[in-house]
């Protein structure tokens, strides 16, 4: 039975076998042809991707570079802060780029050099002498004489494409010593001798893993890893596995080991920051250590290489213990393979992770918001997110840091003082007085949150912040001066619906006839409405338009008390013109745009347009200094030294819904706003809220003494404020006020009281 069956089976088998062989042959031929076609296709894809097009690079956004020159005034702690942000390391003896050292004169900086839009700045070793935060001398070690040097600018963000891949391209010569050895020791020991795949490597890895009792080595070669990341999707399928090996072989045939390695170094995924994927060791070095790759020491190299295995599991920021363990394992492998001595291993293993202290979350959401908006006017979104453009902005990291801090500190304190103020929000805008460049933008009370941008997107009534514009309009007529007496008596104006509008002073009192400067200093509503009606609401609005407010505003008298909605950014633009001696210069934030290789694409030249005469603006500036010295803004001198000149104005809207403060020092123009998200009343006046944010900010910015330049046509007179007339210098209770010579006040030979 058994035998028979077997023989039958054998016969059948032979017959079937014969037929199958024919079919199999035909089938195989077809497969061969298809396979060759597929291989050719695969090959073309590999070459296309590898040679033609590789990565889309996000545009890089840079802050302004710090300029160092003799006479430069820095704020307390500023230089240290900026150097830390740039990833400089404090050492005993600065002898390599990225190092800084304290000396008895000041500090010694070894800068890294940078390609600016206007040319290359070489790295230099310079000793900066400092006295009371003022640079008193620069000594370049090269002996070359230069009155100024600039540090490389801080990279403050990128404009990312939809998939949020970020990287910083590097070449093999950017690698620090020991990098390739470490990488190959851990990931692919026979990289330079295998053919793209390495069965031996797989076996060795298995053996090593068995010995270690856990997965310490991966079996796939760097070439395979690259193929996986570069050409294949993340989906774990058997087909992907099958294609990976032939692709790796093809890659190995076409390109040199160094070329493949260079691409690998830039492609490898090494971390995730929110939505942003960190690719390549170049960016990884910036991201984790805040330093360029070529400055890394071996223990840092070991960490980066160790991260390849599991960037999120070994994330050094979240899991420092795991990261140290992994790093030390990498160092042990180096020692095992004789690449470093045991002593070196011990020493490096004892070092801390040395991560950067600078925060890696986007620190400048509001500012970046505006950069993006502005660039979209000139560049397509795809160009911004893929061409590796370099955007040079005027962002001042120190000012931004102080602005963020002031907002957070003061909002916290106000919440303590008044009990929790539900939904309290804030915004702060800071620009450079003379150039009109935006230096910092806070769009939210806690700085970091990238939700609504309150500095930009939201307009609120500006209240008394509009009064300086009323004054400027009056001064421009030539019929007024700070000494002109204005009636602060009750005023009532008919409205379009037939009812009467009767604005009142904050203290609900009338103050009789007061000199014009005092109506601003004390922010008297009745006097200001009267003044505004005398010059004309339409004239005030025309003046406002010349100062950069373009929206159409109906000419109601209530405008004179600030029933106009403006964003903090717009308010700052208006005050910029006052600070700029009557010259409007548009707030700007992008200085230049270059291609990745430094070729200049766009440049934004400084431009001004006269919006008010220098004389009127000078008079207004004087009035606003009085507001700060003795008026509603005098609270700022709790933060500032008495001799510091600032000109400012407070603003409070109906029921204290908005708390405003805007003004300028010798160097900076700033606008602060506080209010509730739902625009409901708060316990804050301008002086009780926004003033503190503004004051704390200015307190921490560099302070340079600055004298206003008095126009020739203006003279100071000693004025009796009850008569508005000049009187002898020895009379009591007079005020020195600037008045155009052409409308010189009449002179009383007696004191006139």
């Amino acid at each position: 039975m058994t035998k028979q069956r077997t023989s039958n089976k054998a016969k059948k088998k032979a017959a079937i076998g014969w037929i199958s062989w024919v079919w199999l042959f035909k089938f195989a031929t077809v497969l061969m042809v298809l396979g060759v076609v597929a291989l050719v296709y695969l090959d073309a894809q590999i070459r296309h991707r590898f040679e033609g097009h590789r990565w889309s690079l996000p545009a890089k956004v840079y802050a302004r570079p710090l300029e160092l020159f003799k006479g430069q005034q820095m704020a307390e702690g500023q230089l240290d802060y900026e150097l830390t942000q740039l990833g400089y390391r404090w050492v005993k003896n600065a002898k390599a780029p990225g190092q800084v050292q304290k000396t008895h004169r000041g500090i010694m900086i070894y800068s890294r050099g940078f390609r600016f839009a206007d040319g290359d700045e070489q790295g230099f070793l310079v000793e900066v002498s400092l006295q009371k935060n003022k640079i008193t001398g620069l000594r370049l070690s090269s002996g070359a004489s230069s009155a100024l040097v600039r540090l490389e600018p801080q990279l403050v963000g990128g404009i990312y494409p939809a998939h949020n891949e970020d990287r910083e391209l590097i070449q093999l010569h950017d690698l620090p010593s020991g990098f390739i050895e470490t990488l190959l020791a851990v990931e692919d020991r026979n990289y330079y001798s295998h053919y793209g795949v390495s069965p031996w490597g797989i076996l060795r890895a298995m053996w090593a893993n068995i010995q270690a009792g856990s997965v310490v080595q991966g079996g796939s070669t760097l070439t395979q890893q690259l193929v996986k990341n570069f050409y294949l999707s993340d989906r774990q399928t058997i087909w992907r596995k099958l294609i990976e090996a032939p692709m790796a072989l093809l890659l190995n045939i076409h390109y040199s080991k160094d070329e493949v390695l260079e691409v690998y170094l830039n492609e490898v995924f090494v971390g995730q920051a929110g939505k942003r994927a960190i690719h390549g060791f170049g960016l990884a070095s910036r991201f984790y250590f805040g330093q360029p790759l070529n400055e890394l020491k071996l223990h840092q190299v070991a960490l980066l290489v160790g991260l390849v295995k599991g960037p999120s599991y070994y994330n050094p920021q979240r899991h420092p213990k795991r990261a140290i363990k992994r790093r030390n394992l990498v160092l042990s492998i180096l020692a095992q393979q004789g690449l470093i001595s045991d002593a070196q291993k011990m020493r490096y293993q004892g070092l801390p992770l040395d991560l950067t202290e600078a925060s890696q979350v986007s620190r400048y959401p509001a500012y970046m918001d505006l950069v993006r908006q502005q660039l979209k006017q000139h560049y397509q979104a795809s160009a911004l997110s893929s061409h590796g453009l370099r955007i040079f902005t005027s962002l001042d990291p120190w000012v931004q840091h102080q602005a963020d801090t002031a907002m957070v500190d003061q909002v916290r304190m106000l919440n303590q003082r008044h009990g929790k103020i539900e939904g309290l929000q804030g915004a702060l805008v800071v620009s450079h007085r003379d150039s009109g460049e935006l230096l910092a933008l806070v769009g939210d009370y806690n700085g970091g949150y990238a939700g609504h941008n309150w500095a930009l997107d939201r307009s609120r009534q500006v209240g008394s912040l509009l009064k300086p514009v009323v004054h400027l309009t009056a001064l421009e007529t030539g019929r007024y001066s700070p000494a002109t007496l204005i009636d602060d008596g009750p005023i009532s104006l008919p409205q379009s619906d037939g009812t009467l509008w009767q604005p009142q002073n904050y203290d609900r009192k009338s103050h009789g006839k007061v000199p014009m400067y005092e109506t601003l200093a004390k922010s008297y509503n009745q006097a200001n409405v009267r003044l505004g009606m005398q010059v004309g609401v339409d004239k005030v609005l025309q003046q406002l338009r010349r100062m950069g407010v373009e929206q159409s505003i109906p000419a109601y008298p209530s405008v004179l008390l600030g029933a106009v909605e403006m964003s903090p950014l717009q308010v700052n633009q208006v005050y910029q013109t006052i600070a700029g001696n009557g010259f409007y210069s548009p707030l700007s934030l992008v200085r230049q745009v270059t291609e990745a290789n430094g070729v200049l694409l766009s440049h934004f030249p400084f431009a001004v347009r006269q919006a008010a005469s220098n004389d009127s603006t000078y008079l207004l500036q004087h009035e606003m200094r009085m507001v700060a010295k003795q008026g509603t803004a005098r609270g700022v001198y709790r933060y500032l030294p008495k001799q510091q000149q600032v000109a400012a104005k407070t603003g409070t809207t109906n029921d204290q819904r908005d708390s405003w403060f805007a003004g300028f020092s010798g160097q900076y123009v700033a606008t602060a706003w506080l209010g509730r998200e739902d625009a409901k009343p708060t316990p804050l006046t301008g002086a009780g809220g926004a003033l503190h944010v503004w004051g704390q900010l200015m307190q921490h910015l560099a302070y340079t003494t600055y004298e206003d330049i008095k126009p020739q046509s203006i003279e100071y007179y000693y004025i009796n404020v009850t008569t508005g007339k000049a009187m002898p210098n020895n009379c009591p209770n007079g005020v020195w006020l600037p008045i155009p010579k052409a409308s010189a006040p009449s002179f009383n030979t007696t004191c006139g009281y």
Binding site: D118, L249, L370, H378, H387, F583
Partner: protein, 233 residues
Amino acid sequence: MYNNEITPSKFLLLISLVFFMGGCAAPSYGPIVEDLSVQARISERIPVLTVNGSTKVSAKAAAAASPLTPVIKAKPKPYVAPKAVVTITAQPISNQVVTQLVAQENIPPAVEEAPPAVQETQLPASDQAVVEQLLAEADQLKAQGKVTQAVIQLQRAQRIAPREPKVYARLAALQLSLGEASRAEQLALKGLTLVPNKKSYQYYFWKLIGASRSNLGDSQGEAEAIGQAAKYK
């Protein structure tokens, strides 16, 4: 070593081929292509950079590595050929959106050197060495025909020494030589506010304003400026 022999690799290639053909013959070929997603990936990552493939890079002779030369394939909208820098007239940042800025694609034909009657050398030297250095650099750049770079240096000087009238004098003269008469006039007017007691500057700025207005076809304004300049001669 194993890896130095050729046969195993050929063998491996063959095995991979067979595997691969198997894959191609299988009904689930479709998903492979999708999986491969080379096309998708390329469109996802907009092509940008190329590498000069002919140059061999050696890890050992790393210093001689070929540069990863970025070549922009797809041009951004207002893209201009390198060297022709887009000069953008900044305008106010409005509430929601930054207002459309005017892109000026070509540098206007240079006008003959600013006001011929005015000699910049008559202006007193700045008391800040840093300003003089930047002005000298700007002059050098301008002489090389790098006008935009010169403007950038002058703006750098303006930020460092915002009340230095000489910087405004140079900026205004440079803008005038670029045919930007209106911009030059305004810069000179602003410069005037810095020099109420400096005759040489007042003379210079008024002359420059006169030349700018002449360029703008404002003969009345020009006459007024010339009258003003005469006061400070």
